[in-house]
Symmetry: C2
Subunit: 317 residues, 2 copies
């Protein structure tokens, strides 16, 4: 599966994933208004009216964004919490979004951050990666429980040619509380996790990279440089660009000598671009066009970072 | 909410939570057979026939187990992965289970192990604890992302009188890979997490204990003793009794001088008791009676451990 992601990035020359985190505050009023009709007539059991409306709005919003960007980016990353909050109708909207994006040729990274142990982790893995419940191409996984939590995902990835991205160094301000703690031998916890990701990943290589990737926040360029060296065959999913403050310059250390090795996520910077001054000319009605314009700008910006990375690698670092 | 849990434990003299992890292999054949009728007739969109059948079997199984134990235990802990694997029908079965258990007066601990950051963590918290999607009394939370991931849950707990149990030292064999790593000052990572849980918990005390609890595996009695001292006002959810190998003797260090401070989970040891030699007389048809008998035996066993804990506290330790 990682090979398919790399092909997508190369074909579109865009190491960019659009985060489909449809916070209700991002959704234009006219879509919310139109979604009310979804709650007319009989509503199935366990589907509250307000959730049916919210889920319909989320789905219509996602569909428009997807139609506007699917030809210029290789991947999308729906954040399942934004759907789960609306219960059953929300999970239906998640599934519709995933299925629709895949039908448009996009790689779908389910940002589910699941993690448990043994048969429970395997149930999550099957539910999200084996298509028994939902069917994404990659899922994000939380490593706090160790190998018992991650290996069942790897087993399912091997069986179904899927992949995972394991949280290593997350993009948020407090990620250092546990991840940066120095251990007895002077290495940080995130380095130990990175070392384990490398080991887990060696079991399912596909070309130069493994189907076991890592999440490394774009907001932590110094740690990323350490991790890039520690995990040379680990593809990095980098959140934190744009709204969380990371710039293209912060990202040069994430890429390898071929300008590969990482895919950068932006969520609200793209899907809510119409709310920003720079894209205000599109207006609320033009939210999808604004998203496309913001995605194009991000791609251009990152091409610069990749060029920088190639230069650094080629002059030795 | 922690006060309600303590009242339930005290009233039933049973620090026991029944894990509703209905692995399909635990469900008697006659229930699976009967569940097939649920897939007759029209099936809603996004509900595959096999998932509809599995979810119906899960629900019927859970209902019978709940009816058999609700008067002797204070709480149940459905493990959401076992439902999520069956997609939309599975999530409906989760919701039915949660709602039914609450209607029987049980405290419901949603074992969801969610964790993200900021508005995303808040979406999970609202979805599971504020009743916007699902409505449990406590949720389990993964702390790997630090305060950014946990505080949004605490905010929602305060608003809705709910609680969380944060993973500190998990019961599985590989939990030490990251959790036991010694930091520069000689303390293990799980101790740092425990210290943070204590701090987070100080924000939402309810009597002696906080609505922010901790998950500490019954399989690690030595670490539990350290954590019990480090987190004197933190209620502990202890998985790992029975099937994972922990005994009542391992649990004495989890309780305080009043015999409170912990609730012990057993999942397959109770819900699949009919498959064990000791309860084989009940047969497959009597699976719910076998579960009740196993729960009674576990409660008796733990009363001994609590007595042991009281003795240790009262003689000083």
């Amino acid at each position: 599966m990682i090979q398919r992601l790399i092909e997508g990035i190369t074909a579109k020359d865009a190491p960019v994933v659009v985060g489909l985190d449809p916070n209700i505050s991002f959704i234009p009023g006219f879509i919310l208004k139109k979604a009310e009709s979804a709650a007319e007539g009989d509503i199935p059991d366990y589907c509250e009216k307000e959730n049916v409306i919210a889920a319909e709005a989320v789905w219509q919003f996602n569909k428009a964004i997807t139609d506007a960007v699917y030809d210029i980016v290789p991947a999308v990353k729906p954040q399942v919490a934004m759907y789960e909050q609306f219960g059953i109708p929300g999970m239906i909207a998640y599934r519709r979004t995933v299925d629709y994006c895949r039908s448009k040729g996009l790689i779908v990274i389910g940002d589910v951050k699941r993690g448990d142990i043994g048969s429970t982790s395997e149930a999550y893995a099957r539910g999200h990666l084996a298509g028994t419940g939902f069917d994404v191409d990659f899922a994000t996984v939380n490593p706090y429980l160790g190998s018992d939590g991650v290996k069942p995902f790897i087993k399912v990835c091997k069986e179904h040619d899927k992949g995972i991205f394991v949280l290593v160094k997350t993009s948020n301000p407090s990620s250092g509380e546990f991840q940066d703690v120095l251990t007895g031998d002077g290495r940080a916890v995130y380095e130990l996790v990175g070392k384990m990701v490398r080991e887990w990943g060696s079991e399912c290589m596909e070309g130069v990279y493994s189907n076991v990737g890592a999440v490394v926040g774009a907001t932590y360029p110094e740690q990323a440089k350490i991790l890039r060296k520690l995990m040379p065959h680990t593809f990095i999913l980098a959140p934190g660009y744009g709204a969380q403050g990371a710039t293209a310059a912060d990202l040069s250390g994430f890429f390898d000598a071929d300008g590969l090795g990482a895919i950068v996520n932006s969520s609200r910077g793209i899907i809510a671009a119409y709310k920003k001054e720079a894209y205000s000319k599109y207006g609320e009605e033009g939210f999808a066009d604004a998203a496309r314009a913001a995605a194009i700008d991000m791609i251009e910006d990152l091409r610069g970072a990749i060029h920088g990375a190639r230069t650094v690698w080629n002059t030795g670092r």
